[in-house]
Symmetry: C2
Subunit: 445 residues, 2 copies
Amino acid sequence: MPHSEAGVKTPPPRWTRFSNGRIVRGKELIAQDLWIDTQSGRICEPPTGQDSHDDVDVVDLEGKIMAPGFIDIQINGAFGFDFSDSSCISAPKKFQKGLHDLNQRLLETGTTSYLPTMTSQFAKTYHHALPFLGPTGIHRDPSRGAESLGAHCEGPFFAHTQKGCHKPEAILAYSTSEPELLKEVYGEQNLAASQGDGTGNVRMITLAPERAGALDSIKTFSEQGIIMSIGHTAATYAEAVKGVQAGSRTVTHLYNAMNQLHHREPGIFGLIASSKDRVFDERTDLADDGRPYFGIIADGIHLHPSSLRLAYNAHPEGLILITDAVMFMGMEDGTYEWTNGQRTVKKGLTLQLEETNTLAGSAIDLPSCINNLIRWTGCSVPEALQAVTSTPAALLGLDGIKGGTEPGADADLVILTEEKDARGFTSLDVSEVWKFGKCVYGRGR
Amino acid sequence: MPHSEAGVKTPPPRWTRFSNGRIVRGKELIAQDLWIDTQSGRICEPPTGQDSHDDVDVVDLEGKIMAPGFIDIQINGAFGFDFSDSSCISAPKKFQKGLHDLNQRLLETGTTSYLPTMTSQFAKTYHHALPFLGPTGIHRDPSRGAESLGAHCEGPFFAHTQKGCHKPEAILAYSTSEPELLKEVYGEQNLAASQGDGTGNVRMITLAPERAGALDSIKTFSEQGIIMSIGHTAATYAEAVKGVQAGSRTVTHLYNAMNQLHHREPGIFGLIASSKDRVFDERTDLADDGRPYFGIIADGIHLHPSSLRLAYNAHPEGLILITDAVMFMGMEDGTYEWTNGQRTVKKGLTLQLEETNTLAGSAIDLPSCINNLIRWTGCSVPEALQAVTSTPAALLGLDGIKGGTEPGADADLVILTEEKDARGFTSLDVSEVWKFGKCVYGRGR
């Protein structure tokens, strides 16, 4: 905060102008100034008039890349905090403090907004945790750190054969998925619209579309604006198509916690490889319902790089990079207690339930996922960045607000340095992060 | 053959000029005349001088498409004849007659050259059959019908878990795959170069790269000019990469008779999704060896359409449409004896071993495969035609000779009509076929 010589606070300059950078705009990097209106916290058109010369803070980007802030639609925790931690019941202040600290730390990774993601829990935990995890953007307050866009409830309405590392008791407690049951488990008040823009505490739900009542829930809640994602599922292709037709618009961590691709029964992969302008089989086709988006964990552990490449080539504009990080992301290697009731071993980026080879979420951050996507697919830098900016924003219905650099969008921005490794592969590194028009993280500041 | 008024034979015009058509050239359809030199049987530059006006037969293509003749690198038989029929031992004249008749009938499907493909047999059958199945192009004789480019030996050096519908005894008879053993089984004279262009009776061998001695065989025979294809295999990704590094340049019917894609162990699919300019893992990468070509059975029975679309999007320039047809292609529905010693039930395009659900080859023809590729992927007509012309020609080292319409190439040509179905999908139909510069099949001629 600038001070006058007499120590009296003066307001910050009205505008910030970023010059000498490469701005991400869709699939392009453009050499153009980017202006922020610091009062609204939004990107703006270059101002006209005298003020625009005097009341401006100019930031020299020194050739760096300026991208929209990253959006992570699936993150279970990080830096020692877990969104499903039972302290939400027993010690809500501790929970709130943990959440606050995480929101500060998350900025380091370029993540300016995200869906705090809860693993499968019993009703009581949802009822206590979800009110903390709802959207925070209404405050437009950079000091809060990374912004919640609403919670992602991953489970417990899963195929019993596709539990992954989630708490088995919570999943096995329910075998149907009717809307009434979901309201009971998550809390009806958490599903209802509570914000001015019609969103509530819950922004996304991952469930298996083949369970009794699931299609009804997909229809009910998607009409209400909640993103219904297909995941932890044993659905056949035909069952998955029904999920999309009922309103599901995305798939949770493609490849993980679902049936393998079989060449005659493609399952979920049939959705990704489908096309609304192609007809495979009139009984089971997506037709005009279109292909869903899909999350991908690009850590090289959950998937072989060639699996990522297959999916990206099939539907590049659908791919959303997610960390699926758990609380151990950013922590030292070791063996830890986790909220699923089991012990988890962290070794580098690999997390496994102790004495098993079940993967227990990931420990990767979004910049590393972006670098892997570039390295493994050969896509361009702005194409890779779309998978953490404009693509998740489009899924969430936030085009023009998040995930872009057009005037009018929130000034959530990441400044990236670009380096080449010995083999010539591009590597991006987060240098500075801005939230609602203010610099909230800067290396060396 | 034109006759003079007195009944004395006159030579045919020196040139044929096709006008008013759309010529396939790479990924384009071009409006340009195509000239054939009827003496050489090759496509030629437009001739100059007086002769070129007088000594020309002009064919009006009436807006139809003119494509290179189709190449099928995997076809086990058709129209009641099987390339592995034991009559090659007991009744060679009958075998030869059956082969001759098939070569005439195959023209109806636009197939002007192919690799007659033998299923897994014992040595005696190879020794007797292969001399009949070697290359026939040296004669440049259109009256012989479809041209063999040399035999494809599919088996018996397979993973014992990936026998498909092949004769189990022949596969189980061998558990290693050294060069000496291959020479013994196929007959050394069939593997040796016997033609002016260095090819011998055997042009391609499908084997599993993970068996003992297989890499040695891949290296030995690929250096000799034989195409070594990976197939009927249980290879991991790392084993498959070794196969490519040893010299394998293609994959036999991708998806069928191999492990399913697993997202952490992609197996053969890792080859297709790899890229020589990407690095997944330095221990197991293809690096500069490049991605192999791959055959695909586009009948909608061996694969779900979305599986085809996944593979095509991953590596479009690698996809080769194959029929994998067996002798029942073009025959009535019913239950038949087959050369694998078992009975086969044909119902429409589906062929299964009796009382099992094991697929027993296909009954589809190449034009139907092309139409399915267009319908399922949305590729253009010339892109689809590449999968049966320039792509297999490139694999076989026949660029400029087969699979193209450039001057100098053999005048093996297919004239296609293009129709749109009720949904607007393109459907191609073979209207006329030319071989070595002569019309050998014409609807209504």
